[in-house]
């Protein structure tokens, strides 16, 4: 009890310090942008053609970091598969899913896939992008294989999609290196802002990331289910 009380007091004190520091030094939305942030906001649309400036920062200005992020996710999925591969799978009787569950998930699944593809195709126009889209698609698959009697996505197909998307991402980066002397450069025409076919390689990269993250997350959930 006394330990919990001390922990509560310490966290309250830390919260007070954080609050007073942030409140005094960083009032919300009142500081003018400086340095590289100002450059992004002023020239982002002109240079990269994406209406959503966050997208152009994530995939082009800081594109190499995103490649690293995707690699980290890949390593995490591989490590999880490695750990769970040694575990014994105990056979147990599972109750069958009800008819309501099966019917609803069967009809909701295509809509979830459609919504996920909408998010990654429109990544340069609306909020979102590859990562949330992949997670949405993986959640759709998760919903299917907990609520259907017999639905198992092919593990071979999942890892094939993942590897293919990863390779394609590096190839797109090397294309920039070959044509514009900079890794992950925007080599395609920019087009008119606010159209679907605009912003050069941003939609291409986001489609690749969407497929990659979706297959990885589905693989993680499938490993967890089967282990």
């Amino acid at each position: 009890m006394i330990r919990r009380l001390i922990a509560l007091l310490v966290s309250l004190y830390l919260g007070y310090i954080l609050y007073s520091f942030v409140y005094v030094h960083f009032p919300f939305g009142e500081r003018p942008l400086r340095g590289v942030a100002a450059h992004y906001v002023e020239n982002g649309i002109k240079e990269e053609g994406a209406t959503n400036i966050v997208t152009s920062i994530v995939t082009l200005y800081r594109g190499f970091d995103t490649l690293g992020e995707v690699t980290v996710l890949f390593l995490a999925a591989t490590g999880l598969g490695l750990i769970l591969a040694g575990m014994k799978r105990e056979e147990e009787e599972k109750p069958e899913p009800t008819l309501i569950m099966e019917t609803v998930t069967k009809h909701l699944f295509p809509l979830v896939l459609l919504f996920g593809s909408y998010i990654f195709i429109h990544g340069h126009l609306t909020p979102g992008g590859g990562f949330p889209a992949g997670v949405v698609i993986a959640t759709g698959y998760f919903m299917m294989f907990i609520a259907q009697r017999s639905f198992t996505p092919s593990e071979y197909l999942l890892s094939a999609t993942e590897s293919f998307a990863g390779t394609l991402y590096v190839i797109v980066g090397l294309l920039g290196l070959a044509l514009a002397f900079s890794f992950l450069d925007n080599v395609m025409p920019l087009g008119i802002p606010n159209r679907v076919f605009s912003a050069g390689i941003i939609p291409v990269i986001y489609i690749i990331i969407g497929f990659k993250v979706g297959s990885e997350m589905t693989g993680i959930l499938l490993h967890l289910k089967e282990a």
Binding site: F28, F131, P132, T139, I146, L224
Partner: protein, 84 residues
């Protein structure tokens, strides 16, 4: 910021703190998972209030189903009740 949004944010931060206290005090890990789902909901609203829709949509997508699923699988393999 408008006073209405401020009022809403104040109420929602109370929910955030109460959710944390529920997670902290409960011995049933299923309740802790539910509390973390609630916290992710409120965090997503806060990100939208601070006008960061990209972060909000990522938080929503991850918190809505995936975290709950992974934590449930982990809990199924380890055990539901925390023993003192």
């Amino acid at each position: 910021m408008n006073s209405l949004i401020l009022f809403m944010a104040l109420g929602l931060s109370v929910v955030l703190i109460v959710g944390t206290i529920i997670i902290y005090l409960s011995k049933d890990l299923l309740v802790a998972i539910l509390g973390s789902a609630v916290i992710s909901l409120i965090a997503s609203i806060f990100f939208l209030i601070l006008q960061a829709p990209d972060v909000a949509i990522t938080e929503a997508a991850i918190g809505a189903g995936l975290t709950t699923g992974i934590l449930l699988y982990a809990m199924k393999k380890t055990g539901r009740y925390e023993d003192d």
